[in-house]
Protein backbone atom coordinates (compact mmCIF):
# COMPACT_ATOMS: atom_id res chain seq x y z
CA UNK A 1 0.00 0.00 0.00
CA UNK A 2 2.75 2.40 0.95
CA UNK A 3 4.48 1.72 -2.37
CA UNK A 4 1.40 2.60 -4.33
CA UNK A 5 0.88 5.83 -2.41
CA UNK A 6 4.52 6.76 -2.65
CA UNK A 7 4.33 6.38 -6.42
CA UNK A 8 1.36 8.72 -6.61
CA UNK A 9 2.69 11.32 -4.22
CA UNK A 10 6.25 11.81 -5.41
CA UNK A 11 5.63 13.32 -8.87
CA UNK A 12 3.14 15.78 -7.39
CA UNK A 13 5.74 17.10 -4.99
CA UNK A 14 8.40 17.25 -7.67
CA UNK A 15 5.97 18.95 -10.03
CA UNK A 16 5.15 21.63 -7.47
CA UNK A 17 8.81 22.26 -6.69
CA UNK A 18 9.97 22.49 -10.29
CA UNK A 19 7.15 24.69 -11.51
CA UNK A 20 7.18 26.87 -8.39
CA UNK A 21 10.95 27.21 -8.65
CA UNK A 22 10.84 28.37 -12.25
CA UNK A 23 8.11 30.92 -11.53
CA UNK A 24 10.01 32.33 -8.52
CA UNK A 25 13.06 32.65 -10.76
CA UNK A 26 10.94 34.60 -13.24
CA UNK A 27 9.55 36.90 -10.57
CA UNK A 28 13.08 37.62 -9.36
CA UNK A 29 14.23 38.28 -12.91
CA UNK A 30 11.33 40.66 -13.46
CA UNK A 31 11.91 42.54 -10.20
CA UNK A 32 15.68 42.81 -10.59
CA UNK A 33 15.72 43.22 -14.39
CA UNK A 34 17.61 46.55 -14.54
CA UNK A 35 20.36 45.21 -12.26
CA UNK A 36 20.83 41.68 -13.57
CA UNK A 37 20.33 42.15 -17.30
CA UNK A 38 23.84 42.21 -18.84
CA UNK A 39 22.90 44.74 -21.54
CA UNK A 40 20.36 47.46 -22.20
CA UNK A 41 17.50 45.48 -23.80
CA UNK A 42 16.80 48.30 -26.25
CA UNK A 43 20.37 49.18 -27.21
CA UNK A 44 20.84 48.58 -30.91
CA UNK A 45 24.30 48.09 -32.32
CA UNK A 46 24.81 46.87 -35.83
CA UNK A 47 28.34 45.76 -34.98
CA UNK A 48 26.97 43.19 -32.56
CA UNK A 49 24.07 42.01 -34.72
CA UNK A 50 23.22 38.30 -34.85
CA UNK A 51 25.87 37.18 -32.42
CA UNK A 52 25.50 33.47 -31.61
CA UNK A 53 25.13 32.16 -28.03
CA UNK A 54 28.24 31.78 -25.86
CA UNK A 55 29.24 28.25 -26.78
CA UNK A 56 29.36 28.85 -30.52
CA UNK A 57 32.26 30.27 -32.51
CA UNK A 58 32.03 34.04 -32.95
CA UNK A 59 30.25 34.69 -29.65
CA UNK A 60 30.98 37.89 -27.75
CA UNK A 61 31.26 38.01 -23.96
CA UNK A 62 28.32 39.76 -22.40
CA UNK A 63 25.91 38.41 -25.03
CA UNK A 64 25.34 35.03 -23.40
CA UNK A 65 22.38 33.96 -25.50
CA UNK A 66 23.38 35.89 -28.60
CA UNK A 67 21.83 38.96 -30.15
CA UNK A 68 19.13 39.71 -32.71
CA UNK A 69 19.36 41.34 -36.12
CA UNK A 70 19.47 44.80 -34.55
CA UNK A 71 22.25 43.78 -32.15
CA UNK A 72 20.03 43.68 -29.06
CA UNK A 73 20.98 41.18 -26.37
CA UNK A 74 18.58 38.19 -26.29
CA UNK A 75 19.08 37.36 -22.60
CA UNK A 76 18.46 40.94 -21.49
CA UNK A 77 15.32 41.12 -23.58
CA UNK A 78 14.04 37.87 -22.10
CA UNK A 79 14.69 39.16 -18.57
CA UNK A 80 12.94 42.47 -19.25
CA UNK A 81 10.16 40.67 -21.14
CA UNK A 82 9.39 38.73 -17.95
CA UNK A 83 8.04 41.96 -16.46
CA UNK A 84 5.28 42.40 -18.99
CA UNK A 85 4.54 38.67 -19.08
CA UNK A 86 4.11 38.48 -15.31
CA UNK A 87 2.05 41.67 -15.05
CA UNK A 88 -0.29 40.35 -17.73
CA UNK A 89 -0.43 36.94 -16.05
CA UNK A 90 -1.24 38.30 -12.62
CA UNK A 91 -3.59 41.14 -13.48
CA UNK A 92 -5.44 39.58 -16.40
CA UNK A 93 -5.52 36.17 -14.73
CA UNK A 94 -6.94 37.52 -11.48
CA UNK A 95 -9.50 39.79 -13.14
CA UNK A 96 -10.69 37.01 -15.43
CA UNK A 97 -10.95 34.70 -12.44
CA UNK A 98 -12.93 37.13 -10.29
CA UNK A 99 -15.40 38.09 -13.01
CA UNK A 100 -15.83 34.59 -14.43
CA UNK A 101 -16.18 32.98 -11.00
CA UNK A 102 -18.73 35.54 -9.83
CA UNK A 103 -20.89 34.99 -12.92
CA UNK A 104 -20.48 31.22 -12.72
CA UNK A 105 -21.47 31.11 -9.05
CA UNK A 106 -24.52 33.29 -9.63
CA UNK A 107 -25.64 31.23 -12.63
CA UNK A 108 -25.03 27.88 -10.95
CA UNK A 109 -26.44 28.71 -7.56
CA UNK A 110 -29.32 31.13 -8.20
CA UNK A 111 -30.40 29.38 -11.41
CA UNK A 112 -33.56 30.89 -12.99
CA UNK A 113 -33.26 33.96 -15.16
CA UNK A 114 -29.73 35.02 -14.10
CA UNK A 115 -28.56 31.58 -15.20
CA UNK A 116 -30.46 31.83 -18.48
CA UNK A 117 -28.89 35.18 -19.33
CA UNK A 118 -25.35 34.22 -18.31
CA UNK A 119 -25.56 30.85 -20.08
CA UNK A 120 -26.79 32.52 -23.23
CA UNK A 121 -23.81 34.85 -23.20
CA UNK A 122 -21.48 31.91 -22.61
CA UNK A 123 -23.03 30.17 -25.64
CA UNK A 124 -22.49 33.23 -27.78
CA UNK A 125 -18.91 33.58 -26.56
CA UNK A 126 -18.20 29.93 -27.31
CA UNK A 127 -19.14 30.62 -30.93
CA UNK A 128 -16.29 33.15 -31.33
CA UNK A 129 -12.82 32.01 -32.32
CA UNK A 130 -11.02 33.37 -29.23
CA UNK A 131 -7.75 34.46 -30.86
CA UNK A 132 -9.57 36.33 -33.59
CA UNK A 133 -11.79 37.97 -30.98
CA UNK A 134 -8.73 39.10 -29.00
CA UNK A 135 -7.02 40.50 -32.08
CA UNK A 136 -10.20 42.32 -33.02
CA UNK A 137 -10.52 43.81 -29.54
CA UNK A 138 -6.95 45.08 -29.62
CA UNK A 139 -7.61 46.61 -33.03
CA UNK A 140 -10.60 48.40 -31.51
CA UNK A 141 -9.07 49.37 -28.18
CA UNK A 142 -5.64 50.24 -29.52
CA UNK A 143 -2.41 48.59 -28.47
CA UNK A 144 -1.09 48.83 -24.93
CA UNK A 145 -1.04 46.97 -21.63
CA UNK A 146 -4.57 47.94 -20.55
CA UNK A 147 -6.01 46.83 -23.88
CA UNK A 148 -4.28 43.45 -23.62
CA UNK A 149 -5.65 42.89 -20.13
CA UNK A 150 -9.16 43.92 -21.15
CA UNK A 151 -9.00 41.66 -24.21
CA UNK A 152 -7.93 38.65 -22.14
CA UNK A 153 -10.69 39.22 -19.58
CA UNK A 154 -13.30 39.67 -22.28
CA UNK A 155 -12.40 36.54 -24.25
CA UNK A 156 -11.70 34.18 -21.35
CA UNK A 157 -14.20 34.84 -18.53
CA UNK A 158 -16.32 32.01 -19.93
CA UNK A 159 -13.68 29.43 -18.99
CA UNK A 160 -14.34 30.17 -15.30
CA UNK A 161 -18.06 30.80 -15.69
CA UNK A 162 -18.66 27.43 -17.39
CA UNK A 163 -16.72 25.30 -14.95
CA UNK A 164 -17.75 27.11 -11.78
CA UNK A 165 -21.40 27.14 -12.85
CA UNK A 166 -21.37 23.36 -13.22
CA UNK A 167 -19.62 22.88 -9.86
CA UNK A 168 -21.92 25.32 -8.08
CA UNK A 169 -24.91 23.43 -9.45
CA UNK A 170 -23.56 20.14 -8.13
CA UNK A 171 -22.73 21.63 -4.75
CA UNK A 172 -26.03 23.50 -4.57
CA UNK A 173 -27.92 20.24 -4.97
CA UNK A 174 -26.21 18.70 -1.94
CA UNK A 175 -27.82 18.31 1.44
CA UNK A 176 -25.48 20.51 3.39
CA UNK A 177 -26.55 23.49 1.32
CA UNK A 178 -30.20 22.68 1.83
CA UNK A 179 -29.63 22.43 5.58
CA UNK A 180 -27.87 25.79 5.59
CA UNK A 181 -30.94 27.18 3.82
CA UNK A 182 -33.31 25.60 6.29
CA UNK A 183 -31.25 27.05 9.13
CA UNK A 184 -32.33 30.44 7.80
CA UNK A 185 -29.15 31.63 6.12
CA UNK A 186 -29.40 34.23 3.38
CA UNK A 187 -28.83 32.86 -0.12
CA UNK A 188 -25.94 35.21 -0.75
CA UNK A 189 -24.35 34.10 2.52
CA UNK A 190 -24.80 30.43 1.71
CA UNK A 191 -23.23 30.96 -1.68
CA UNK A 192 -20.15 32.60 -0.20
CA UNK A 193 -19.73 30.46 2.91
CA UNK A 194 -20.89 27.03 1.72
CA UNK A 195 -20.40 26.88 -2.05
CA UNK A 196 -17.33 29.05 -2.62
CA UNK A 197 -14.97 27.11 -0.30
CA UNK A 198 -15.94 23.87 -1.98
CA UNK A 199 -15.17 25.11 -5.47
CA UNK A 200 -11.95 26.78 -4.34
CA UNK A 201 -9.58 23.99 -5.46
CA UNK A 202 -11.06 24.22 -8.95
CA UNK A 203 -10.76 28.01 -8.92
CA UNK A 204 -7.10 27.82 -7.93
CA UNK A 205 -6.30 25.30 -10.67
CA UNK A 206 -8.17 27.39 -13.25
CA UNK A 207 -6.51 30.59 -12.06
CA UNK A 208 -2.95 29.39 -12.56
CA UNK A 209 -3.99 27.82 -15.87
CA UNK A 210 -5.46 31.17 -16.89
CA UNK A 211 -2.22 32.95 -15.97
CA UNK A 212 -0.37 30.70 -18.39
CA UNK A 213 -3.00 31.34 -21.05
CA UNK A 214 -2.73 35.10 -20.47
CA UNK A 215 1.02 34.92 -21.14
CA UNK A 216 0.31 33.00 -24.35
CA UNK A 217 -2.37 35.44 -25.51
CA UNK A 218 0.03 38.33 -24.96
CA UNK A 219 2.68 36.45 -26.96
CA UNK A 220 0.19 35.80 -29.76
CA UNK A 221 -0.82 39.46 -29.85
CA UNK A 222 2.84 40.51 -29.95
CA UNK A 223 3.33 37.95 -32.68
CA UNK A 224 0.78 39.68 -34.90
CA UNK A 225 2.30 43.04 -33.87
CA UNK A 226 -0.70 44.08 -31.81
CA UNK A 227 0.73 44.03 -28.31
CA UNK A 228 2.28 47.07 -26.69
CA UNK A 229 4.68 49.43 -28.46
CA UNK A 230 7.30 47.65 -30.52
CA UNK A 231 10.19 49.12 -28.48
CA UNK A 232 9.61 47.38 -25.19
CA UNK A 233 10.85 43.80 -25.17
CA UNK A 234 8.16 41.12 -25.13
CA UNK A 235 8.60 37.38 -25.54
CA UNK A 236 5.98 37.28 -28.27
CA UNK A 237 7.66 40.10 -30.13
CA UNK A 238 11.00 38.30 -29.91
CA UNK A 239 9.38 35.10 -31.18
CA UNK A 240 7.79 37.00 -34.04
CA UNK A 241 11.16 38.39 -35.04
CA UNK A 242 12.89 35.06 -34.47
CA UNK A 243 10.36 33.30 -36.69
CA UNK A 244 11.29 35.46 -39.68
CA UNK A 245 15.04 35.07 -39.21
CA UNK A 246 15.01 31.48 -37.99
CA UNK A 247 17.32 30.24 -40.73
CA UNK A 248 19.94 32.91 -40.05
CA UNK A 249 19.78 33.15 -36.24
CA UNK A 250 17.88 30.30 -34.60
CA UNK A 251 18.71 31.52 -31.08
CA UNK A 252 16.50 34.58 -31.44
CA UNK A 253 13.52 32.20 -31.66
CA UNK A 254 14.72 29.34 -29.46
CA UNK A 255 15.46 31.09 -26.16
CA UNK A 256 12.26 33.13 -25.83
CA UNK A 257 10.36 30.04 -26.96
CA UNK A 258 11.94 27.88 -24.24
CA UNK A 259 11.17 30.58 -21.67
CA UNK A 260 7.56 30.80 -22.79
CA UNK A 261 7.25 27.02 -22.90
CA UNK A 262 8.56 26.55 -19.36
CA UNK A 263 6.45 29.39 -18.03
CA UNK A 264 3.19 28.09 -19.47
CA UNK A 265 4.01 24.55 -18.38
CA UNK A 266 4.88 25.75 -14.86
CA UNK A 267 1.64 27.67 -14.46
CA UNK A 268 -0.49 24.69 -15.43
CA UNK A 269 1.53 22.17 -13.42
CA UNK A 270 1.45 24.48 -10.40
CA UNK A 271 -2.33 24.60 -10.74
CA UNK A 272 -2.66 20.82 -10.94
CA UNK A 273 -0.30 20.37 -8.00
CA UNK A 274 -2.11 22.93 -5.85
CA UNK A 275 -5.46 21.46 -6.77
CA UNK A 276 -4.37 18.05 -5.47
CA UNK A 277 -3.07 19.69 -2.30
CA UNK A 278 -6.23 21.68 -1.63
CA UNK A 279 -8.79 19.15 -2.71
CA UNK A 280 -10.39 17.95 0.52
CA UNK A 281 -11.43 14.69 -1.12
CA UNK A 282 -8.00 13.82 -2.51
CA UNK A 283 -6.12 15.06 0.54
Amino acid sequence: MRDARGDVKRPIGLRLWLSGGWLILLVLAALLAPWIAPQDPLAQDLFTSRLPPFWEAGAEPGYWLGSDSLGRDVLSRIIHGARLALIVALVAGTLTCVIGTALGLIAGYYRGWPDRIISRFVDIWMAFPPVLFAILLIAVLGTGLTSIIIAIVVIDWTRFARVIRAEAMTQGAMDYVASAQVAGRKRMGTMLTEILPNVLPTIIALLTLEMGIAVIVEAILSFVNLSISTDSPTWGGMISEGRTSVHQAWWVLVFPLITLFLTVLSFSQLGEGLKDRFDPVLR
Partner: protein, 336 residues
Protein backbone atom coordinates in the same frame (compact mmCIF):
# COMPACT_ATOMS: atom_id res chain seq x y z
CA UNK B 1 -42.86 14.23 -31.03
CA UNK B 2 -40.46 15.16 -28.25
CA UNK B 3 -37.57 14.46 -30.61
CA UNK B 4 -38.95 16.92 -33.14
CA UNK B 5 -39.48 19.46 -30.37
CA UNK B 6 -35.90 18.98 -29.21
CA UNK B 7 -34.56 19.53 -32.69
CA UNK B 8 -36.64 22.68 -33.12
CA UNK B 9 -35.48 24.03 -29.74
CA UNK B 10 -31.90 23.28 -30.69
CA UNK B 11 -32.22 25.12 -34.02
CA UNK B 12 -33.89 28.09 -32.33
CA UNK B 13 -31.10 28.23 -29.76
CA UNK B 14 -28.51 28.05 -32.55
CA UNK B 15 -30.21 30.90 -34.36
CA UNK B 16 -30.25 33.05 -31.20
CA UNK B 17 -26.55 32.37 -30.64
CA UNK B 18 -25.67 33.31 -34.22
CA UNK B 19 -27.79 36.46 -33.94
CA UNK B 20 -25.98 37.33 -30.69
CA UNK B 21 -22.62 36.85 -32.36
CA UNK B 22 -23.69 39.11 -35.21
CA UNK B 23 -24.89 41.86 -32.87
CA UNK B 24 -21.76 41.79 -30.73
CA UNK B 25 -19.36 41.72 -33.64
CA UNK B 26 -21.29 44.54 -35.32
CA UNK B 27 -21.17 46.73 -32.24
CA UNK B 28 -17.53 45.95 -31.43
CA UNK B 29 -16.09 46.69 -34.84
CA UNK B 30 -18.09 49.87 -35.28
CA UNK B 31 -16.35 51.33 -32.25
CA UNK B 32 -13.14 51.12 -34.30
CA UNK B 33 -11.50 54.52 -34.37
CA UNK B 34 -10.13 55.59 -37.71
CA UNK B 35 -11.84 55.68 -41.02
CA UNK B 36 -11.68 52.44 -42.99
CA UNK B 37 -12.77 54.20 -46.14
CA UNK B 38 -9.99 56.74 -46.04
CA UNK B 39 -7.48 53.89 -46.20
CA UNK B 40 -8.92 52.71 -49.52
CA UNK B 41 -8.37 55.95 -51.34
CA UNK B 42 -5.18 57.44 -52.72
CA UNK B 43 -3.69 60.25 -50.58
CA UNK B 44 -5.07 62.97 -52.85
CA UNK B 45 -8.72 62.01 -52.36
CA UNK B 46 -11.17 64.77 -51.53
CA UNK B 47 -13.74 64.90 -48.74
CA UNK B 48 -16.42 64.38 -51.35
CA UNK B 49 -14.78 61.15 -52.55
CA UNK B 50 -14.70 59.84 -48.99
CA UNK B 51 -18.33 60.78 -48.39
CA UNK B 52 -19.37 59.09 -51.63
CA UNK B 53 -17.64 55.85 -50.74
CA UNK B 54 -18.96 55.99 -47.18
CA UNK B 55 -22.45 56.25 -48.54
CA UNK B 56 -21.74 53.36 -50.89
CA UNK B 57 -20.70 51.14 -47.96
CA UNK B 58 -23.49 52.51 -45.78
CA UNK B 59 -21.16 53.91 -43.11
CA UNK B 60 -23.04 57.22 -43.03
CA UNK B 61 -26.10 55.59 -41.48
CA UNK B 62 -26.71 54.75 -37.81
CA UNK B 63 -25.41 51.45 -36.42
CA UNK B 64 -28.96 50.13 -36.14
CA UNK B 65 -29.75 50.97 -39.77
CA UNK B 66 -26.45 49.47 -40.90
CA UNK B 67 -27.23 46.31 -38.98
CA UNK B 68 -30.68 46.00 -40.54
CA UNK B 69 -29.25 46.51 -44.03
CA UNK B 70 -26.54 43.93 -43.35
CA UNK B 71 -29.03 41.47 -41.90
CA UNK B 72 -31.32 41.86 -44.88
CA UNK B 73 -28.36 41.12 -47.15
CA UNK B 74 -27.29 38.10 -45.10
CA UNK B 75 -30.75 36.58 -45.32
CA UNK B 76 -30.41 36.82 -49.12
CA UNK B 77 -26.88 35.36 -48.99
CA UNK B 78 -25.18 38.72 -49.53
CA UNK B 79 -22.50 39.50 -46.93
CA UNK B 80 -21.45 42.79 -48.50
CA UNK B 81 -18.25 43.74 -50.28
CA UNK B 82 -14.76 43.59 -48.84
CA UNK B 83 -13.23 47.05 -48.50
CA UNK B 84 -9.61 46.03 -48.92
CA UNK B 85 -10.05 43.33 -51.56
CA UNK B 86 -13.08 44.90 -53.36
CA UNK B 87 -14.79 41.58 -53.93
CA UNK B 88 -17.98 40.10 -52.48
CA UNK B 89 -17.29 38.81 -48.96
CA UNK B 90 -19.19 35.59 -49.62
CA UNK B 91 -17.01 34.52 -52.53
CA UNK B 92 -13.78 35.53 -50.75
CA UNK B 93 -14.75 33.57 -47.68
CA UNK B 94 -15.96 30.52 -49.58
CA UNK B 95 -12.68 30.45 -51.51
CA UNK B 96 -10.69 30.24 -48.31
CA UNK B 97 -13.04 27.99 -46.34
CA UNK B 98 -11.86 24.71 -47.96
CA UNK B 99 -8.25 25.33 -46.87
CA UNK B 100 -9.29 25.81 -43.24
CA UNK B 101 -11.71 22.89 -43.27
CA UNK B 102 -9.09 20.56 -44.70
CA UNK B 103 -6.56 21.67 -42.12
CA UNK B 104 -9.04 21.19 -39.26
CA UNK B 105 -10.19 17.79 -40.43
CA UNK B 106 -6.66 16.49 -40.97
CA UNK B 107 -5.75 17.81 -37.50
CA UNK B 108 -8.78 16.06 -36.02
CA UNK B 109 -7.81 12.79 -37.69
CA UNK B 110 -4.24 13.06 -36.39
CA UNK B 111 -5.56 13.83 -32.90
CA UNK B 112 -7.93 10.86 -32.95
CA UNK B 113 -5.21 8.48 -34.14
CA UNK B 114 -2.55 9.67 -31.66
CA UNK B 115 -4.97 10.14 -28.77
CA UNK B 116 -6.74 6.85 -29.41
CA UNK B 117 -3.48 4.93 -29.64
CA UNK B 118 -2.22 6.46 -26.40
CA UNK B 119 -5.50 5.71 -24.63
CA UNK B 120 -5.46 2.08 -25.78
CA UNK B 121 -1.79 1.54 -24.91
CA UNK B 122 -2.31 3.29 -21.58
CA UNK B 123 -5.24 1.00 -20.80
CA UNK B 124 -3.14 -2.00 -21.74
CA UNK B 125 -0.42 -0.79 -19.37
CA UNK B 126 -2.80 0.33 -16.65
CA UNK B 127 -1.45 0.58 -13.11
CA UNK B 128 2.15 0.27 -14.26
CA UNK B 129 4.97 2.76 -14.53
CA UNK B 130 4.46 2.92 -18.29
CA UNK B 131 0.96 4.27 -17.74
CA UNK B 132 2.47 6.93 -15.50
CA UNK B 133 4.78 7.93 -18.35
CA UNK B 134 1.80 8.29 -20.68
CA UNK B 135 -0.03 10.41 -18.09
CA UNK B 136 2.94 12.73 -17.69
CA UNK B 137 3.36 13.21 -21.44
CA UNK B 138 -0.34 13.84 -22.08
CA UNK B 139 -0.37 16.26 -19.14
CA UNK B 140 2.46 18.19 -20.77
CA UNK B 141 0.97 18.07 -24.25
CA UNK B 142 -2.26 19.41 -22.81
CA UNK B 143 -0.84 22.39 -20.97
CA UNK B 144 1.07 23.74 -23.97
CA UNK B 145 -1.19 25.46 -26.52
CA UNK B 146 -1.09 24.91 -30.28
CA UNK B 147 0.76 28.18 -30.95
CA UNK B 148 3.81 27.02 -29.00
CA UNK B 149 3.69 23.52 -30.50
CA UNK B 150 3.68 25.18 -33.91
CA UNK B 151 6.87 27.06 -33.08
CA UNK B 152 8.51 23.94 -31.67
CA UNK B 153 7.62 22.03 -34.84
CA UNK B 154 9.04 24.81 -37.02
CA UNK B 155 12.32 24.47 -35.17
CA UNK B 156 12.32 20.69 -35.35
CA UNK B 157 11.09 19.97 -38.87
CA UNK B 158 11.72 23.30 -40.53
CA UNK B 159 15.19 24.18 -39.27
CA UNK B 160 16.91 21.36 -37.40
CA UNK B 161 15.77 18.64 -39.78
CA UNK B 162 14.10 20.46 -42.65
CA UNK B 163 11.75 17.87 -44.10
CA UNK B 164 8.51 19.87 -44.23
CA UNK B 165 7.58 23.25 -45.67
CA UNK B 166 7.22 25.91 -43.01
CA UNK B 167 4.94 28.23 -44.92
CA UNK B 168 2.14 28.26 -47.44
CA UNK B 169 -0.44 25.69 -48.49
CA UNK B 170 1.01 24.50 -51.77
CA UNK B 171 4.20 25.13 -53.75
CA UNK B 172 3.50 27.91 -56.30
CA UNK B 173 5.52 26.07 -58.94
CA UNK B 174 3.10 23.17 -58.86
CA UNK B 175 0.72 23.07 -61.79
CA UNK B 176 -2.81 22.51 -60.54
CA UNK B 177 -5.98 22.94 -62.49
CA UNK B 178 -8.44 21.84 -59.85
CA UNK B 179 -12.11 22.75 -60.00
CA UNK B 180 -12.56 23.18 -56.26
CA UNK B 181 -10.43 24.64 -53.51
CA UNK B 182 -10.55 21.38 -51.60
CA UNK B 183 -7.07 20.63 -52.93
CA UNK B 184 -6.45 17.71 -50.61
CA UNK B 185 -9.70 15.89 -51.34
CA UNK B 186 -9.54 16.63 -55.04
CA UNK B 187 -5.92 15.46 -55.23
CA UNK B 188 -7.03 12.25 -53.55
CA UNK B 189 -9.93 11.75 -55.95
CA UNK B 190 -7.86 12.53 -59.02
CA UNK B 191 -4.98 10.40 -57.73
CA UNK B 192 -2.59 13.32 -58.21
CA UNK B 193 0.04 12.04 -55.80
CA UNK B 194 2.55 14.79 -56.64
CA UNK B 195 0.02 17.40 -55.47
CA UNK B 196 -0.98 15.25 -52.51
CA UNK B 197 2.62 14.91 -51.32
CA UNK B 198 3.18 18.65 -51.65
CA UNK B 199 -0.04 19.45 -49.76
CA UNK B 200 0.83 17.09 -46.94
CA UNK B 201 4.35 18.50 -46.79
CA UNK B 202 2.78 21.90 -46.17
CA UNK B 203 -0.07 20.79 -43.97
CA UNK B 204 1.71 18.35 -41.71
CA UNK B 205 3.20 20.79 -39.21
CA UNK B 206 0.22 23.14 -38.75
CA UNK B 207 -2.11 20.14 -38.48
CA UNK B 208 0.13 18.41 -35.95
CA UNK B 209 0.45 21.61 -33.89
CA UNK B 210 -3.35 21.84 -33.74
CA UNK B 211 -3.67 18.12 -33.04
CA UNK B 212 -1.25 17.75 -30.12
CA UNK B 213 -3.39 19.35 -27.36
CA UNK B 214 -6.55 17.65 -28.63
CA UNK B 215 -4.82 14.27 -28.84
CA UNK B 216 -3.79 14.66 -25.20
CA UNK B 217 -7.39 15.39 -24.21
CA UNK B 218 -8.64 12.39 -26.16
CA UNK B 219 -5.95 10.19 -24.61
CA UNK B 220 -6.87 11.25 -21.08
CA UNK B 221 -10.65 11.10 -21.39
CA UNK B 222 -10.74 7.90 -23.39
CA UNK B 223 -8.27 6.10 -21.13
CA UNK B 224 -10.28 7.13 -18.07
CA UNK B 225 -13.45 5.90 -19.70
CA UNK B 226 -11.81 2.67 -20.89
CA UNK B 227 -10.43 1.90 -17.46
CA UNK B 228 -13.89 2.32 -15.94
CA UNK B 229 -15.42 0.10 -18.61
CA UNK B 230 -12.78 -2.60 -18.09
CA UNK B 231 -14.22 -3.28 -14.64
CA UNK B 232 -17.68 -4.08 -15.97
CA UNK B 233 -18.95 -7.65 -15.91
CA UNK B 234 -19.40 -8.03 -19.63
CA UNK B 235 -15.71 -7.39 -20.15
CA UNK B 236 -14.85 -10.03 -17.56
CA UNK B 237 -17.30 -12.39 -19.21
CA UNK B 238 -15.64 -11.81 -22.56
CA UNK B 239 -12.28 -12.69 -20.98
CA UNK B 240 -13.64 -16.02 -19.79
CA UNK B 241 -14.67 -16.72 -23.38
CA UNK B 242 -11.00 -16.90 -24.25
CA UNK B 243 -10.45 -13.46 -25.75
CA UNK B 244 -7.11 -11.77 -25.12
CA UNK B 245 -6.43 -8.39 -23.58
CA UNK B 246 -6.17 -6.62 -26.93
CA UNK B 247 -9.48 -7.96 -28.18
CA UNK B 248 -11.21 -7.20 -24.89
CA UNK B 249 -10.01 -3.58 -24.90
CA UNK B 250 -10.70 -2.77 -28.53
CA UNK B 251 -13.83 -4.79 -29.21
CA UNK B 252 -15.64 -4.92 -25.89
CA UNK B 253 -14.61 -1.88 -23.87
CA UNK B 254 -13.94 0.63 -26.65
CA UNK B 255 -17.42 0.90 -28.25
CA UNK B 256 -18.91 1.86 -24.90
CA UNK B 257 -16.01 3.99 -23.72
CA UNK B 258 -16.19 6.20 -26.81
CA UNK B 259 -19.59 7.68 -26.01
CA UNK B 260 -18.72 9.74 -22.90
CA UNK B 261 -15.57 10.97 -24.66
CA UNK B 262 -17.41 12.04 -27.78
CA UNK B 263 -19.34 15.00 -26.39
CA UNK B 264 -16.29 16.55 -24.81
CA UNK B 265 -14.20 16.01 -27.92
CA UNK B 266 -16.87 17.85 -29.92
CA UNK B 267 -16.37 21.03 -27.89
CA UNK B 268 -12.62 20.60 -28.06
CA UNK B 269 -12.82 20.30 -31.85
CA UNK B 270 -14.41 23.75 -32.03
CA UNK B 271 -11.45 25.03 -29.97
CA UNK B 272 -9.15 23.38 -32.52
CA UNK B 273 -10.92 25.17 -35.37
CA UNK B 274 -10.58 28.43 -33.43
CA UNK B 275 -6.87 27.67 -33.13
CA UNK B 276 -6.48 27.63 -36.92
CA UNK B 277 -6.57 31.45 -36.85
CA UNK B 278 -3.14 31.85 -35.27
CA UNK B 279 -1.70 28.60 -36.64
CA UNK B 280 -2.51 29.65 -40.21
CA UNK B 281 -0.79 32.95 -39.48
CA UNK B 282 2.24 31.18 -38.06
CA UNK B 283 2.60 28.93 -41.10
CA UNK B 284 1.42 31.53 -43.66
CA UNK B 285 -1.27 29.03 -44.65
CA UNK B 286 -3.83 30.63 -46.93
CA UNK B 287 -6.99 29.90 -44.99
CA UNK B 288 -9.83 31.80 -43.37
CA UNK B 289 -7.93 32.63 -40.19
CA UNK B 290 -5.03 34.20 -41.98
CA UNK B 291 -7.46 36.23 -44.04
CA UNK B 292 -9.28 37.24 -40.86
CA UNK B 293 -6.14 38.69 -39.27
CA UNK B 294 -5.40 40.63 -42.46
CA UNK B 295 -8.99 41.87 -42.42
CA UNK B 296 -8.58 43.13 -38.85
CA UNK B 297 -5.30 44.83 -39.65
CA UNK B 298 -6.89 46.48 -42.74
CA UNK B 299 -10.04 47.42 -40.82
CA UNK B 300 -12.06 45.58 -43.44
CA UNK B 301 -15.35 45.59 -41.52
CA UNK B 302 -17.58 43.62 -43.93
CA UNK B 303 -14.95 40.92 -44.30
CA UNK B 304 -14.39 40.62 -40.52
CA UNK B 305 -18.13 40.28 -39.99
CA UNK B 306 -18.44 37.62 -42.66
CA UNK B 307 -15.55 35.53 -41.34
CA UNK B 308 -16.63 35.70 -37.69
CA UNK B 309 -20.18 34.69 -38.58
CA UNK B 310 -18.86 31.81 -40.66
CA UNK B 311 -16.71 30.58 -37.76
CA UNK B 312 -19.69 30.85 -35.41
CA UNK B 313 -21.79 28.88 -37.89
CA UNK B 314 -19.13 26.16 -38.16
CA UNK B 315 -18.85 25.91 -34.36
CA UNK B 316 -22.58 25.54 -33.84
CA UNK B 317 -22.83 23.02 -36.68
CA UNK B 318 -20.01 20.94 -35.17
CA UNK B 319 -21.83 20.87 -31.83
CA UNK B 320 -25.05 19.89 -33.54
CA UNK B 321 -23.28 17.14 -35.50
CA UNK B 322 -21.68 15.76 -32.32
CA UNK B 323 -25.05 15.61 -30.57
CA UNK B 324 -26.53 13.76 -33.53
CA UNK B 325 -23.58 11.37 -33.68
CA UNK B 326 -24.11 10.68 -29.99
CA UNK B 327 -27.68 9.62 -30.67
CA UNK B 328 -26.67 7.50 -33.66
CA UNK B 329 -23.92 5.69 -31.76
CA UNK B 330 -25.94 5.11 -28.61
CA UNK B 331 -28.37 2.22 -29.12
CA UNK B 332 -30.33 3.31 -26.06
CA UNK B 333 -31.20 6.64 -27.70
CA UNK B 334 -31.42 5.34 -31.25
CA UNK B 335 -34.37 3.14 -30.42
CA UNK B 336 -36.07 5.48 -27.99
Amino acid sequence: MTLLRNILMRLLSTAITLFGVAVIIFVVIRVVPGNPIAMMLPPGATEADIARLQAQYGFDKSIFEQFMIWLRGVVQGDFGTSISLRQPVSSLVLNRLPATLELSIVALLIAVVIGGTMALTGTRWRNTRKEGAIDVSTGMALSIPDFLWGLVLILLFGVLWPVFHISGRISPALDIDFTTNFYLFEALLRLRFDVLGDLIGHMFMPALALAIPLSAIIAQLLKQSLKETMHLDYVTLSRTHGYGEHHVITRDALPNAILPTLTLVGVQFTFLIGGTVIIERLFSYEGLGNMAIDAVINRDLPLIQGIVILFALIFTLVNLAVDMLYVVLNPRLRHA
